[in-house]
């Protein structure tokens, strides 16, 4: 907190003038960006529709109530599929993410080039939404649960490996040094020094990712990759709004369940 000497004695200001100008400048830039972005979006918006929205909302809203409970039996299989996509996808991803993470962390990687390649794989798989992977996989392996599972798997490799390698890089090196001092080999240093420190994180990441994936798996059906998304897409297309409500409620329930399980398991692991 800068103090300035003036003729009347020291004067306190919260920030140096330079920093203050920078901050004002920053806000200005931010404002300009916001305005610009809003302009762009505005141009492409048919404002008539937007003003009509409340009417639309109440119209559709009316049609969505009450939920069509008779539709429920048709939803059990899709829910089962959705959960499987998430679970198996996460499991496959974790099996791959752990070795990738070890090869990517700067304290366990065998070589800089290996690290660079692994980091690229992590970013590449993370950047693309699983829906896009699902789109491509439906072309390759055909519509169905397999496409969805692989899509979730690919996306999750990046998501999991990133968190895991960050935690590997944050371990306490003294514990590893002690194992080295007893005469332990590199592998033993890994098992006794590094692994015990990262194992809880690895388990936590797996469960955390699974929870996110349950949510993500619900929409893969939109491109035909299995799960409850198929029903959702179909019901919306035929404007069967009461069915849509039922589906939304089921999705809500599934996500709540997965969050509950995730919180409980992670609480137990710590």
């Amino acid at each position: 907190m800068p103090t300035i000497e003036t003729t009347q004695g020291p004067l306190w200001r919260r920030r140096t003038p330079l920093k203050q100008w920078l901050i004002w400048g920053g806000w200005l830039v931010g404002l300009c960006i916001a305005v610009y972005a809003w302009q762009l979006i505005s141009e492409k918006t048919i404002w008539m529709f937007v003003w009509d929205a409340p009417r639309q909302m109440s119209d559709i809203g009316e049609r969505m109530i009450p939920p069509d409970w008779s539709y429920m039996p048709k939803l059990w299989r899709p829910v089962w599929d959705t959960l499987n996509i998430a679970t198996i996808g996460t499991a496959i991803a974790m099996c791959l993410a752990v070795p990738i993470a070890f090869l990517a962390a700067h304290n366990t990687t065998p070589h800089k080039s290996v690290r660079a390649v692994m980091l690229f794989i992590i970013v590449a798989t993370r950047s693309v939404n699983s829906l896009i992977w699902a789109l491509l996989l439906v072309v390759i392996v055909g519509p169905g649960v397999l496409a969805g599972t692989i899509a979730i798997g690919i996306r999750s490799i990046g998501g999991c490996a990133k968190l895991i390698y960050e935690s590997i890089e944050e371990i306490d090196p003294k514990q590893v040094e002690a194992i080295k001092a007893t005469g332990g080999s590199r592998a033993q240093q890994m098992v006794y020094g590094i692994l015990p420190q990262v194992l809880p994180t690895i388990a936590g990441v797996g469960v955390f990712r699974w929870d996110i994936n349950v949510r993500g798996s619900t929409i893969l059906g939109i491109v035909g990759a299995g799960g409850i998304g198929i029903q959702l897409s179909a019901s919306i297309n035929v404007l069967a709004w009461t069915q849509v409500t039922t589906i939304l409620i089921v999705i809500l329930g599934t996500v709540f369940l997965s969050e509950y399980i995730s919180a409980k398991v992670r609480g137990a692991i710590i």
């Binding site: 809003w38 979006i41 918006t45 937007v50 679970t87 072309v139 491109v223």
Partner: protein
């Protein structure tokens, strides 16, 4: 330390993580059964897969080289649209989240406000942005406005929740100290709450920008603007070179965003 202590045990086993052996076996058996069932009920059409592999290899080979021609400037347009959509949704979403997050903090808000805000957060968090986008399109028409609405709501679910948690976890003594000076409620927020939560929330905003960009690339698939629609059509028309361009652009932008956000975060800290 007596001399009679000559008879020491010769074997040792590490105690299990899950102490109760019944629970442990139940979990093992349950897990194996589940995976068995899950894989068994996975309806895989293996002939289709077999046919598909060469098709897939063909597709991937068409990715290189990617088609950078973009004859009608459509791709660039779409990508820029996605970027700006992400930016405005993050800004709008964060602005909306501030009051909702404040209202969702147990130690700040009266109970009915707390419950109301928490339910808004719960609903906006539960549904993936794509589902929100489908409804936004129905209500607001096709185009990036629907995407903006969907992503902004998604941002609220994320940001407001974390803000509320941060406020609930803040240091009570600091808050008490400011209150003891006789500050008004707003001053209290500005001097006690804001300094504690701001650094992390800025970092989270940058993270959310990253997420919003990735989502903005897909909401186009359901008509909510951005590059998603072009991606979909390029795949449907087998124009895989174009698909590759779009994919690589998305990856490149995400990498750029990550680096700059890391840099910005350090500067803010």
């Amino acid at each position: 330390m007596s001399e009679a202590s000559l008879n020491y045990a010769q074997t040792w086993k590490k105690p299990h993580f899950i102490k109760s052996s019944l629970l442990r076996y139940l979990i093992y058996v349950g897990t194996v059964t589940y995976f068995f069932l899950a894989i068994y009920t996975m309806d895989v059409n293996w002939t289709r897969v077999a046919e598909g592999i060469p098709r897939g290899a063909d597709m991937i080979s068409k990715f290189f080289p990617p088609d950078l021609s973009d004859s009608r400037g459509v791709i660039l347009d779409g990508i820029l649209e996605s970027i700006w959509m992400a930016v405005i949704s993050t800004i709008g979403g964060v602005l909306l989240s501030i009051p909702i997050g404040l209202g969702a903090a147990r130690n700040l808000a009266p109970t009915w406000v707390y419950l109301f805000c928490r339910s808004i957060i719960a609903v906006s968090r539960t549904f993936p942005e794509v589902i929100l986008a489908i409804f936004a399109v129905k209500f607001f028409g096709f185009g990036p406005f629907a995407g903006f609405i969907a992503l902004a709501i998604g941002t609220i679910g994320f940001w407001a929740k974390l803000l509320a948690e941060d406020i609930e976890n803040m240091s009570k003594s600091q808050a008490e100290a400011v209150r003891a000076t006789g500050a008004t409620w707003l001053q209290w927020i500005n001097y006690a709450i804001q300094p504690q939560v701001l650094p992390r929330m800025i970092g989270l905003s940058l993270y959310r920008l990253d997420i919003n960009f990735r989502e903005s690339a897909v909401v186009g698939i359901v008509g909510a603007g951005g590059i998603g629609a072009h991606l979909l059509t390029s795949v449907q028309r087998y124009e895989y070179a174009t698909t590759a361009t779009i994919l690589f652009s998305i990856i490149a932008i995400v990498i750029t965003l990550e680096y700059s956000s890391g840099y910005l975060r350090k500067w803010v800290q």
